[in-house]
């Protein structure tokens, strides 16, 4: 039986009919056709599907679409400025070669923003630990860790 859901995605009000078993990530990818959020596993290990739900990083594969009813969702498509300027986290990923194949990247970037928001000025060890829910197979993580630390400093400076 279809259930109505309404939420805000990247600042826009959206609605749809979903099955009770529809995952948030399916709603985002298949109903809204926002395919930047990826699915890399089926056991909540890889973090390719991380989005922000009311400003907090969540694995959208582990949340039902109906649970997101009434919430504000930000996906990777909603991170850059309206004129296309990359968010500092996106820019830092590029500067530090923090992506190769790009598949884990949307989740990594969304997680990176969350780390920078929660733990401004986190050191390398902390950032590495905070990434335990995200797997990258290409980069060996070094560029990702450098990018998060760098962007964190930029975001921090912008806040103060």
């Amino acid at each position: 039986m279809d259930i109505d859901v309404k939420m805000t995605v990247n600042g826009k009000a959206v609605s749809g009919k979903v099955e009770a078993r529809t995952l948030l990530v399916q709603f985002i990818r298949e109903h809204l056709r926002l395919t930047g959020t990826h699915v890399g596993c089926d056991t909540t290990q890889c973090g390719c599907c991380v989005v922000h739900v009311d400003g907090v990083a969540m694995k959208s594969c582990t949340m039902l679409a109906v649970q997101a009813d009434g919430k504000a969702i930000t996906t990777i498509e909603g991170l850059a400025a309206a004129d296309g300027t990359l968010h500092p986290m996106q820019q830092a990923f590029r500067d530090h070669h923090g992506l190769q194949c790009g598949f884990c990247t949307p989740g990594m970037v969304m997680m990176g923003v969350d780390i920078a928001n929660r733990l401004p000025g986190a050191d390398e060890k902390t950032v590495r630990h905070q990434l335990e829910g995200n797997i990258c197979r290409c980069t060996g993580y070094q560029g990702i860790v450098e990018a998060i630390m760098d962007a964190s400093a930029v975001m921090n400076a912008a806040r103060s």
Partner: protein
């Protein structure tokens, strides 16, 4: 051209798109009327199918088709591509089984496809697959390569004696036997190289579309070599290649794994033909462990003969290599094509290798980053360390004595490698200095006080890259003077777009913003092999260079004609003539080339060029890795503290991307050594590692900062002087970490640690030593 020139750390042109969620991976594609497929797979490692009833599934909601082995057999399609060319020990041809996309009578591994259910939604297809009734008569199975070739082992293929697929011999047996006869010291060891999987973050997937009106197939899929893929798949479909279009979008990592024509490729195409709709299949992660081709999995019995001064006299290696249950072109190459790495960077005059490839009741195999190179590197670099230990010589010193000096280049090793260039001793010294090798014992003593067992390990490895072959490239100017560069190679994350744009920008003086990069579509790309074996910078890069060279040659003639002079110079995108003060840009000439009035008489319109570059000589990337790690005495937990590398991959096209390749490779080597392993239950043949819950993947936390320096020694074997960089990191990491673990535990009498060196395994080793 300035900041984008070859050699500059140019940030990637593909990044903004990928960072904004604009990647186009196969699962991101949707077509009108598209249906979804789900594969029902064998739950048994070896069984006869005694009954298969699909009637309930066919009647389930939304179901459009249920395909079984009989449907494939009647389809007019042939086998999936099959390996060929190797021989058995008696000279008879290798065993090459038929390879249908669906098993009909017998299943041969857990995951072997039995039926393909196609429905309006993926959920309907999955639900309907549950309604298929299959009775299996379970047969004894064998998954271990060591047991597979033993007399009496269950036979994967009834008419394949002892499960032997083929045998490969390399080197000089007589000379090697003679070397061992006069040796002062012989080191022997059996090395088990574990089975791992690529675990690309994007799983495999395909969308098949048969256009009935045009009688033409299109497959959107994950791959590495679009044109080779089309050739192989067309043969399976029994159609001319011209009736097949192969399209790869963004590929979310491959590392060798996605290079094959897998069963599901055939299934989505057959399903599309049957239903008249495009059909999508995308692997789930759990499914990928059962359905992807795995990597490595072999047993090496190695012996190194030395004289009393520690000089290597001979090396003898017997390998048993797991082939899984089916073979395809390329799936078997890891068994033989990279054995040259066994010779290492050493003078060892006599080497002989004897390889037996063995079928087992496991997934088919495929190259995985290195494809035989890391396996061989592990064997030689571990046994050199064991020799150093037994002879009481420092491992760096033992290596130094045996290194091939530059003045002996080109050097024909005891195996296939004829090494054209390299500065091994210089690299060794640079790495020792970077690692503060001399200061290690003080750090070990300090760690001991903290309850940590600290070890240092090194490797000095060499491999072949860019095997003899060809690659294509095309440069197309449009009417406004902007450019499309088309490549035969296919990036899966390596950054080909950036490298090729750098070359085009640097050689033609066109800004990268005005260059479009296109790959992976066989209706667009005219020629090429594809990507694999660290070949793209060498071969693809050279092909782009040849194409831009042709453009410059033609453009110079046009510019001279336009300026009314005999000859012009070209630099930084500008044509000049000494006799005049006129200049023309490459864009001016490209635009002018579209009009006959600007061209010398008889010259063809336009400024496009294609190139088919080929080489007969491979190159030899090499490098030294030193890693320092600590093992917690109480928990067996490993913490890597420092990791340094000095590599020689020839000229560096982009240091930022090179570093990414080396570090990425290291992370996969470290993963295999410390945690990753595909495991099968030895009795039932069940894959026990069917998700990321069971198959441990390296996370950010386990790595230290990795320091990399380059010592480029350009090769003359390609136009750019580059050596392959894609696999080098992985090749060096496996033995370096293995050696460091042994070094940390050597005071306990430990001489070898099997992979993966999990905390449990290390704790047991330490516990056993304490009890002894």
């Amino acid at each position: 051209m300035g900041e984008f020139a070859i050699g500059q750390p140019v940030t990637r042109f593909e990044d903004p798109r990928l960072l904004k969620g604009g990647g186009r991976y196969v699962d991101d594609l949707a077509f009108p009327g598209m249906l979804y497929g789900h594969v029902l797979r064998s739950p048994h490692a070896h069984a006869n199918i005694t009954r298969l009833d699909i009637s309930k599934a066919k009647a389930a909601p939304g179901v459009r088709a249920v395909l079984i082995g009989e449907d494939w057999a009647k389809s007019g399609y042939g086998d999936l591509p099959r390996a060929e060319g190797k021989k058995k020990r008696d000279g008879s041809p290798m065993y090459r089984p038929h390879f249908p996309a669906l098993a009909k009578v017998k299943v041969r591994y857990v995951g072997d496809p039995v039926a393909f259910v196609v429905a309006d939604t993926i959920e309907q297809a999955q639900d309907a697959a549950e309604l298929i009734e299959v009775d299996y008569d379970i047969l004894p199975s064998v998954t271990s390569v060591a047991l597979g070739s033993q007399p009496g082992a269950p036979l994967v293929w009834d008419d394949c004696e002892n499960n032997i697929c083929f045998v490969h011999l390399e080197g000089d047996k007589q000379a090697t036997d003679a070397a061992f006869a006069k040796a002062d010291h012989i080191v022997k060891k059996r090395f088990v190289i574990s089975r791992v999987t690529a675990a690309t973050m994007e799983t495999r997937g395909s969308i098949g579309h048969y256009d009935q009106a045009a009688d033409r197939y299109t497959i959107y899929t994950t791959l590495q070599r679009a044109l080779n893929f089309r050739e192989e798949l067309a043969e399976t479909l029994n159609i001319p290649e011209s009736r097949l279009r192969v399209v790869a979008g963004d590929i979310g990592g491959s590392f060798g794994m996605k290079s094959g024509v897998f069963n599901e490729v055939g299934l989505v195409l057959l399903a599309s033909k049957v239903t008249g709709h495009p059909v999508k299949w995308v692997s789930t992660r759990s499914e990928s462990f059962l359905a992807d081709a795995h990597g490595r999995d072999n047993v090496s019995d190695a012996e190194l003969a030395l004289d009393k001064n520690g000089m290597f006299l001979g090396l003898r290696v017997h390998n048993l290599v797991n082939m899984g249950s089916y073979t395809q072109p390329g799936t078997d190459s890891g068994a033989y094509s990279n054995l040259g790495t066994l010779a290492g960077v050493y003078l060892t005059p006599a080497i002989h290798v004897d390889v037996t490839a063995v079928y087992t009741n496991t997934n088919p195999m495929r190259p995985f980053r290195g494809n035989g190179r890391p396996e061989a590197a592990f064997v030689i670099e571990r046994i050199v360390d064991m020799a150093a230990d037994e002879l009481g010589i420092d491992p760096a010193e033992l290596r130094r004595r045996n290194l091939i000096p530059p003045e002996k280049m080109p050097f024909q090793t005891g195996l296939s490698f004829n090494i054209d260039c390299g500065e091994f001793e210089k690299i060794l010294d640079l790495t020792l200095e970077m690692a503060d090798y001399k200061g290690f014992e003080a750090r070990r003593a300090e760690a001991r006080k903290r309850g940590k067992l600290r070890g240092i390990g090194m490797s000095f490895t060499i491999e072949k890259a860019a095997s003899p072959g060809y690659e294509g490239a095309e440069v197309r100017f449009d009417r406004t003077g902007s450019v499309t560069v088309l490549a035969g190679s296919v990036t899966q994350g390596q950054g080909h777009e950036t490298i090729f744009k750098q070359i085009v920008s640097d050689t033609l003086g066109i800004h990268p913003d005005e260059i479009h990069y296109l790959q992976g579509d066989t209706d667009q790309v005219f020629f090429g092999e594809g990507t694999g074996g660290s070949r793209t910078a060498s071969l693809g890069g050279s092909a782009v260079t040849v194409a831009t060279g042709k453009v410059v040659d033609k453009a110079k003639k046009i510019a001279a004609h336009m300026m009314g002079v005999d000859e012009v110079d070209f630099a930084e995108g500008v044509f000049t003539a000494r006799q005049t003060n006129r200049t023309l840009s490459m864009k001016d000439v490209a635009r002018a080339a579209m009009s006959p009035k600007n061209l010398p008489q008889g010259m063809e319109l336009g400024l496009n060029a294609t190139a088919a570059y080929h080489t007969t000589k491979q190159n030899y990337p090499n490098g030294c890795h030193i890693v320092e790690l600590e093992i917690d005495e109480d928990t067996g937990q490993v913490e890597m503290d420092r990791y340094v590398v000095v590599d020689d991959v020839g000229n560096v096209l982009n240091p930022l991307l090179l570093k990414g390749q080396i570090i990425g490779g290291i992370s996969q080597g470290v993963g295999q050594m410390l945690m990753e392993q595909i495991r099968f239950d030895p009795t039932s043949g069940q894959n026990l590692t069917g998700s990321f819950m069971d198959y441990a993947m390296p996370h950010a936390e386990i790595f230290p900062h990795i320091d990399i320096k380059s010592n480029p020694v350009p090769t003359k074997t390609n136009l750019l002087g580059v050596k392959g960089a894609g696999e080098a990191g992985c090749v060096g990491a496996l033995p370096a970490v293995g050696n460091a673990l042994v070094d940390a535990l050597s005071h306990l009498g430990v001489t070898h640690v099997e992979m993966p060196a999990t905390p449990e395994r290390l704790w047991r080793i330490m516990d056993e030593a304490k009890r002894a």
